[in-house]
Symmetry: C2
Subunit: 193 residues, 2 copies
DNA sequence: ATAATTCAGGAACGATTGTTCCGTATTTTC
DNA sequence: GAAAATACGGAACAATCGTTCCTGAATTAT
């Protein structure tokens, strides 16, 4: 009945993640989106509704990708402590490698929009809860198998880990490129486990 | 020779801190500034140059206020460990009390602008270094007097503390109002000392 | 081939953006 | 009191904002 889309909606969404991640919501114009996603204004609005809808759809996709990644790594892990350090080392590596430092799309969005946009606030809070739960289960498992000290409550440690993750991403967004700074934080942090 | 200003420039700057802190740089319009600072467009531009100059002047003032506060508390402290916990408890209290959650103006600005504005990036990095040094000296003092364990290097602990401070402020900006969440983070964090 | 559908491109929308400028009022110094 | 200087309010600026709409081309199922 009708012609097919010439662009891949999923790939366009990935492009949207890229530019919103890089420039933020208010910093990204409709023209930026047209240019970067490589599709026309009309197609953009026909497909995604408006800027706010596109943004929250992009953020949700980013959220799922990140959660799935960490969740899988921790669930399949035989040594939770080792896996946790690997996850953080990976985050540090990304921070150092990023020529244009993007930090974490979720952290960026929380800071920029959570106060002023209820839907973004919901995504941010949801992400926080899910990630805390992922960390909590992993730590619980580590404590039961004796790999992680149970001197601290698992819930407390999970929230602590998430907090340091946020901090590191802010540091990255600020442009910190000295590996020693990140390593010092990780060293202090993991001395707790 | 000429009439005097009808407004207090310093108070106007405080008002600028308020609204930029609340709404961010891109989220604050020239009209917002006129309304909130209570002075005319022309006076605003005559006095502060442009939006970017006003913003960076506001951020610098905020930086000095924050640094002076923490610096004074730690330098005058007899028990660094106690004072550090008090500083963090104060940050938590502010996060919980804030009806409109503002987080930390410096963290917000780092996330929103450091990538795209060289001057803001400089302020952010400078703040980071100064605060790290303040924490470093305090911890060093604490370790020498035996109040803080010297199992961890002072430099590492200083960076670790700063990182958790950033994390807590992001959490606040995300709207977290559950005191238990903050307390859990602090509990884990200070168990290192 | 025809009809139905939806694509892409770009013109155009009103609203808002940050900024400039002008006329007037006010104050200060001489 | 005259002259110089500057704050003030508001009009006006061009540019950009997010969004809508119109056009013709392209593709599909019948």
């Amino acid at each position: 009945m009708a012609r097919t889309k010439e662009f891949n909606e999923d790939k366009a969404l990935d492009k949207a993640i890229e530019i919103f991640w890089h420039k933020g919501y208010n910093g990204t114009s409709a023209q930026d989106l047209v240019t970067h996603l490589g599709l026309s204004r009309s197609s953009l609005y026909d497909t995604f509704g408006d800027k706010q809808k596109l943004f929250s759809k992009a953020l949700k996709k980013y959220q799922n990708q990140g959660q799935d990644n960490v969740k899988k790594l921790l669930e399949e892990s035989n040594d939770v402590k080792v896996t946790l350090t690997e996850i953080f080392k990976q985050a540090v590596l990304e921070s150092l490698e990023d020529r244009i430092t993007k930090g974490c799309f979720m952290v960026n969005s929380a800071v920029e929009l959570a106060m002023h946009d209820a839907e973004i606030a919901y995504i941010v809070r949801d992400n926080q809860k899910v990630m805390e739960e992922v960390f909590y289960k992993a730590i619980k498992k580590g404590q039961e198998s004796g790999q992680i000290s149970d001197k601290q409550e698992a819930r407390s440690l999970a929230r602590f880990i998430f907090n340091n993750y946020s901090g590191i991403r802010v540091l990255a967004r600020g442009g910190e490129k000295d590996k020693k700074v990140y390593d010092d934080i990780l060293k202090a942090m993991f001395s707790l486990f």
